[in-house]
């Protein structure tokens, strides 16, 4: 006979459930006795009275559930599994999460001692405190929360660096660790390309393009958007590059970021140059074309970065469908637009996707406005009307303050789409649609009526309104990218095959005359 004693911390199962489970547990083959009770002092005495004595029981608190199983030696394993299964099923059925939930980090650490990564998603005012607890307990940290001060971020990353740990974030929305997507992420093939991203949707786009080109991702590490600022100094980016350099499953490293501070870019490139593996760098909007290091390749966009990465990882170039710009399509769209239709309006969920399209437009036009423009002359707010070429990152704090992120709720974007369609000077409306973990379960479906209405408005005034869409996702995601694309095509939307192409196509569609 073998006795198994287990204390389930903070288990609040109602009386009926406890009774039912106790009855079922006692009916499991091999179980001679199963006792379930809250760990109050009086109930501990009940156990003592029937001969159950154990330090774990002594240490348990009234909020804990005591589980005692006696079973024959050869069936105890199966008995424990069966009882656990009953408890797990009950947890799921009662509306509790199937996974165990802990109210404090300390509680989780005491139960699951081998945890090595903690995801923090609490009010930003408390995020640094919780992250510090995790770091002091020797855990890596991913901070999904925003509104963490620069001072706190620097202190946390310095502490992590000293302890040999990694802080991803704050405001880190994407990671793939050992094949598991965290927060917003896409289902991609596992492989030998490691990604370090200081931009969430930029990292998603890279992972998706790598998957599309036949490559796979070993790890995707986020750093948070401020990591490459002068204040933070790229601490997490540098530590991540070194971690991937040491990772035997990673053969190629790819970096994506919005333009870093110059001195930080130098530091990052120096670390990349010291790596033993090829490093592909995409600093969006940066003018750098040479890294100065033999193993470090600078690229101009997310798609070129993905192409360089898969080639370095050993994919045969002849197998790649590079989706070169479709010149006949560009001519066709230009022919449909009247001279008055000169401008692009970009309505984006993904900040990096907005950046990439905006930078493509800036290569050709000066009059490009955005809520994420660095040049104050061309910066507009969320409530300002669009002007000339306008690219809006609708996931930016300007738009999401107190409102849902457009990757979750499209309402704001649908309203804006209707407004933009009223402007007879608009030739192209560019939009991204992001599927995958954490995103809206049908981002295209909810937008189709507004697209139809927008096109109808333009048609009523005798214009063709070109709506250009890009669906970020893979064939493994839910919903399937192919289905989302089919819906867009049925609604008369032109499909771009990548974020990079989205910006280029939009730019070219509205080019006139000598442009």
């Amino acid at each position: 006979m073998t006795r198994h004693i287990e204390i389930r911390k903070n288990s609040y199962l109602d009386s009926v459930s406890l009774m039912s489970m106790s009855t079922k547990a006692n009916a499991v083959d091999g179980v001679t006795l199963a006792l379930l009770g809250m760990a109050t002092p009086m109930n501990k005495e009940v156990l003592l009275n029937v001969g159950v004595s154990d330090p774990a029981v002594d240490a348990a608190k009234p909020s804990d559930l005591m589980v005692v199983i006696d079973a024959t030696d050869d069936t105890i394993g199966a008995a424990i599994e069966a009882v656990n299964d009953i408890l797990a099923r009950k947890n799921k059925g009662s509306g509790d999460a199937a996974e165990v939930r802990y109210r404090t980090l300390d509680g989780a650490f005491s139960e699951v001692a081998d945890t090595n990564l903690v995801i923090i998603s609490v009010n930003g005012a408390f995020a640094a405190r919780e992250a510090r607890k995790a770091l002091n307990a020797g855990k890596h940290v991913m901070i999904f929360s925003d509104n963490v001060s620069v001072e706190d971020e620097l202190a946390l990353k310095t502490l992590a660096h000293e302890k040999g740990l990694l802080v991803m974030g704050p405001d880190c929305g994407t990671a793939i660790i050992n094949g598991v997507g965290l927060a917003f992420a896409n289902a991609v093939r596992r492989g030998n390309i490691g990604i370090v991203g200081a931009s969430g949707t930029g990292s998603q786009e890279l992972s998706v393009r790598i998957h599309d080109f036949g490559g796979g991702v070993s790890q995707l590490l986020g750093t948070g958007g401020r990591d490459l600022s002068a204040e933070i100094g790229g601490i997490s980016m540098i530590d991540s590059i070194r971690a991937l350099d040491a990772d035997p499953e990673t053969a190629v490293i790819v970096i994506v970021s919005k333009p870093p501070a110059e001195e930080v870019a130098d530091k990052v490139l120096a670390v990349a140059g010291a790596a033993s593996k090829p490093v592909i760098v995409n600093f969006l909007g940066s003018q750098r074309t040479e890294s100065g290091y033999a193993n470090v390749t600078m690229t101009s966009g997310t798609k070129p970065a993905a192409v360089a990465a898969v080639l370095a990882a050993g994919i045969d170039k002849s197998t790649l469908d590079l989706h070169a710009l479709n010149i006949p399509l560009i001519e066709e769209v230009r022919a449909k637009l009247v001279p008055e239709q000169k401008y692009i309006r970009g309505l984006f969920c993904g900040g990096t996707l907005c950046d990439e399209s905006m930078f493509a437009a800036l290569d050709k036009y000066d009059n490009v406005y955005s809520n994420i423009q660095k040049d104050p002359q061309y910066k507009i707010g969320a409530t300002d009307p669009s002007r000339e070429h306008t690219f809006l990152d609708m996931g930016d704090d300007d738009f999401t303050n107190g409102r849902p992120h457009p990757m979750i709720d499209p309402t704001m974007r649908l309203q804006r789409l209707a407004q933009e369609a009223n402007d007879p000077e608009v030739g192209v409306i560019a939009m991204d649609f992001i599927v995958g973990f954490g995103s809206h379960d049908d981002p295209v479906g909810v937008t189709i009526p507004a697209i139809t209405e927008a096109k109808a408005k333009a048609a009523a005034r005798g214009q063709h309104l070109e709506i250009l869409g890009y669906v970020l996702g893979t064939d493994l995601d839910t919903p399937a990218v192919a289905d989302q694309i089919a819906m867009l095509e049925a609604a008369g939307v032109t499909i771009s095959s990548s974020s990079t192409n989205l910006g280029l196509l939009a730019r070219e569609f509205v080019a006139k005359g000598d442009n």
């Binding site: 009386s15 009774m19 006792l35 002092p41 009086m42 109930n43 996931g395 999401t400 309402t411």
Partner: protein, 336 residues
């Protein structure tokens, strides 16, 4: 990145007005951001607040202390999980709202003044005939026999605990008949055995509210109705509960604290009113509804009420007993 989802707003069906003070404190003290979801059940979400619990309950359940009832139509939107954050908001016009932030989205629950539920302690005195009739009617609602090994293991201790409490309370009530005042009485050693006996029931038995706690709840709730003449036992039982933070579950403590102030689920208020007026059919109806609480909780509460009725009859005899402190020997086999 701001991972916010839309906030759905719904209006509570009813809410207990004792919450007013708690929620006002939360908003005035700037404490509103620190409430968390404590536990989630099929029809109840418990929110931890100031060392107590606020229950968000499906409106199929009746009113209860610290409880906000949610209309059935709004219940599916409340997909909370333990650990979720809950905010208290002040609403113009001196009202309040709770906002539950869960992964599935946020839900704002408006507490309108018109929807308050105020539990009332029926202070009328039942006749002796009514007491006896009530006692007889409740005999049909005994706790079911234990069906689990843990239930069986704790049953004997429960029976012994109830008898210990009965004896201690009877001695106290006899003493009360001769004491100059209740204040003087509770300072006497004669009250201490009641506290000790109550402590031996706290946290004893199966369930999230262990059976011993449910029995004490029934006893305390009836004792809080002055017409039954049991107020003398409130203080020593309160003393046991006051020191009971490490003795039982938080849910039990919250329920017991309310019972000691004459607050319980609406069906228990209705039952006590029926007991007071001697409305036998109504007693049976409300006792049946009470027995339906949990697996054994309802029957255990009724056990406490039966004990209280026995004691009420005893209190009316006002016959002092000779020994000051009863010495109750534990039954054979009971643990120490």
């Amino acid at each position: 990145m701001t991972p916010v989802a839309p906030i759905a707003t719904l209006r509570a069906a009813t809410w207990e007005d004792a919450l007013e003070e708690t929620l006002s404190s939360a908003t005035h003290d700037g404490f509103g951001g620190d409430l968390i979801v404590h536990s989630v059940h099929d029809h109840v979400v418990n929110v931890q607040c100031f060392g107590g619990l606020i229950a968000l309950a499906h409106d199929r359940l009746d009113d209860a202390p610290w409880t906000i009832r949610i209309p059935a139509s709004g219940w599916p939107t409340l997909r909370a999980q333990a650990g979720d954050r809950v905010e208290v908001e002040g609403v113009p016009g001196d009202g309040h709202a709770l906002v539950v932030h869960s992964v599935a989205g946020s839900v704002r629950i408006m507490l309108n003044a018109a929807d308050r539920w105020t539990p009332v302690v029926d202070a009328r005195t039942p006749s002796t005939t009514a007491l006896r009739a009530a006692r007889t009617a409740l005999d049909a609602f005994t706790s079911p026999a234990a069906i689990t090994p843990f239930g069986a293991a704790s049953a004997q201790a429960l029976d012994a605990g109830v008898e210990r409490l009965r004896a201690a309370a009877m001695a106290l009530l006899h003493g009360a008949a001769t004491a100059e005042s209740v204040t003087a009485l509770i300072a006497e050693p004669i009250a201490q055995p009641v506290t000790e006996a109550a402590r031996r029931l706290l946290g004893l038995g199966e369930g999230l509210t262990p059976s011993g706690d449910d029995i004490l709840t029934g006893l305390a709730f009836l004792a809080a109705h002055p017409g039954f003449g049991l107020t003398a036992i409130l203080e020593p039982v309160t003393a046991a509960v006051h020191d009971g933070d490490d003795s039982t579950t938080l849910l039990s403590l919250v329920t017991l604290r309310a019972a000691l102030t004459g607050r319980a689920r609406r069906r228990l208020h209705d039952l006590v009113t029926a007991l007071i007026v001697g409305d036998n059919p109504r007693i049976v109806t409300m006792a049946t509804e009470t027995a339906a609480i949990g697996h054994t909780s309802g029957c255990d509460i009724l056990t406490g009420i039966r004990l209280a009725l026995d004691l009420a009859e005893t209190a009316r005899t006002r016959a002092p007993i000779p020994t000051a402190t009863p010495q109750i020997a534990p039954p054979q086999g009971e643990f120490s």
